[in-house]
Amino acid sequence: MIPQLFILSILIFALAKAMPGDALTGQLASNPKMDAQTLHELKDKLGLLDPPYVQYGRWIKGLLHGDLGMSVMHQVPVTELIAGRIWNTILLSAAILILSYLIAIPLGIVGGRWTDSWADKAIVGYNYLTYATPLFIFGLLVLFVFGFVLGWFPTSGSVDIRVENGTFAYWMSKLNHIILPAFSGAIISTGVTIQYLRNEIIDTKIKDFVKTARAKGVNESKVYSRHILRNSLLPIAAFLGYEITGLIGGSVFLESIYGYPGIGQLFIASISQRDFSVVTALVMISGLATLIGTLLSDIILSAVDPRIRID
């Protein structure tokens, strides 16, 4: 993990250097009459003339201290800008994960237990549909139908600005704003989980230990709920970490469709405004989140499956 993080940081640093504009561009805009001599001195003062490895060292040092630089557009520290929005994204992602498991696990169990029944066929069909539908189109259609045509839910933002922070109404308004994006994100991400769970149950239910359980006289519903499901849920649990990667990509789409102020929307806004210090920080954070997700998956996997444990 450490070497991967190190290479990732080098890649992002190189990208940041390749991006047009540096810490001075903002000051230059406010003071266009700055002459070449002063500019050179300022650059020297900010360390922009140092060799790349020195600059990289300084950047990493700042990163480890939680200093991500200044946003050129907003003239506030990047950390502050991100801190104001990251909780919205975490909330949305958590809602998507929970909703997606709430939908996928029952469907997967039904599909796996009653294979080839009409319910199973319907689930497989649903699976094909959600697997093939791109998130942004589904999001738009859901927004159009439930937000505009039916008018059941708000169409943008994360909370009604008129309600007071911390009250019950505030949280209800937050919930009301999160339902549509979370729902569309969850529906699209159920496909993989259903398919894994269904296949896993189909594979497990013909194994010997299940026969033994039946022979002992365990009733059928208990065979499924205790013996088969426990074994089938393991790969799903291990998949949890990888879901984080999908959630980051999904947040970019969902947040820009629903005008939801999270880091995905901040990312798109910053890159359109060429606010590259924010962009760099966001890519680094997402990279870190993806890495942690992968690591989490590996840990869960080795925890639940002794065969791949590294001692």
């Binding site: 990732l8 094909y128 539908t133 738009l140 259609l141 990509g249 990312f267 890159i271 359109s272 890519v283």
Partner: protein, 302 residues
């Protein structure tokens, strides 16, 4: 279960001696009504789109006509016009053509890269495999979508080719992994060993002997990826970081919907493009699923 599974396979193999892989795939599609319908529908869409794109005058479509801004569908403009008074139907056809072509290019390019890398890593193993897998593992953990957007923004002289290259640079890894694992299994089989003993050069074993045995898996993977790539391309274009403005895609039309007024009141601008993306992706996916069954004898319908 196991015994049942093996027996029909063996029978199939004996029968299949004279039947080419292509005809097995065709037969599977014909047996699966949904896949057959998808194939016909997709073929009709593509013929219309590519045929009409030849006849259409692109300059006329992109010309701004201030007299007919946001006009709803009428006899003159079958699907209405956008904020510049440009015909939606024309843009839809050109967009569909571009989206499909770009999707196909990305799929083929990632296919070639993935194939070469995967075959080499799987066949040679050892150090080569180790290094390649480290690189793939690294690329897989990157926040792909964000990095693509960053690359698209900072790429100098950005055009369609740059876009295809950037996309391919990130999306070849899955294929390389798949092909590597299959090659790894194939390498241990007797025919490869026998061929080696006879002194066949490695490149010949890889491309003439191992590759044909992987062809069905590769075709399935490419088909399913084609649908995914069209989706990713139009999604990126929707966000404004896909195809450059000179090459409109289906995502360009959908992106007009980021204006709430268009989304709410002017359905004719974004809805047809969304549905077309959806229909194309569904068709390709259904065909891909049928091919997947054809590649695995145990799952075949007929």
């Amino acid at each position: 279960m196991k015994a049942e599974a093996i027996n029909p396979t063996e029978v199939k193999v004996k029968k299949a001696k004279k039947i080419s892989a292509l005809s097995i795939m065709m037969r599977e599609i014909v047996k699966d009504k949904l896949a057959l319908f998808s194939l016909i529908l997709l073929a009709v869409i593509l013929i219309i789109v590519y045929g009409a794109a030849l006849l259409l005058d692109q300059d006329k479509i992109v010309t701004v006509d201030l007299l007919s801004i946001y006009s709803p569908p009428s006899a003159e403009h079958l699907l209405g016009t956008d904020y510049g008074g440009r015909d939606i139907l024309g843009q839809l056809i050109i967009g569909a053509k571009n989206s499909f072509t770009i999707g196909l290019c990305i799929t083929l390019l990632t296919g070639i890269i993935g194939l070469c890398v995967g075959l080499c890593a799987g066949y040679f193993g050892g150090k080569v495999d180790n290094i390649i897998m480290r690189i793939i593992d690294f690329i897989i953990i990157l926040p792909t979508l964000m990095l693509i957007i960053v690359f698209v923004t900072i790429a100098p002289k950005y055009n369609v080719y740059t876009f295809v290259l950037i996309m391919s640079a990130f999306y070849w890894t899955g294929k390389a992994r798949l092909i590597r694992s299959k090659t790894l299994a194939e390498r241990e089989l007797d025919y490869v060993q026998a061929s080696k003993t006879l002194g066949t050069p490695n490149w010949k074993i890889i491309f003439r002997e191992v590759l044909p045995n992987l062809s069905s898996i590769i075709i399935v993977n490419l088909t399913l990826n084609l649908a995914g790539n069209i989706g990713i391309e139009s999604g990126l274009t929707y966000l404004g970081f896909g195809l450059p403005e000179s090459t409109p895609s289906l995502g360009t039309l959908v992106s007009y919907a980021s204006n709430p007024d268009v989304l709410q009141n002017k359905w004719w601008i974004w809805l047809p493009a969304s549905i077309l993306i959806l229909v194309m992706m569904l068709c390709i996916n259904f065909i891909g699923q049928a091919l997947k069954r054809a590649a695995d004898a145990r799952q075949r319908l007929g």
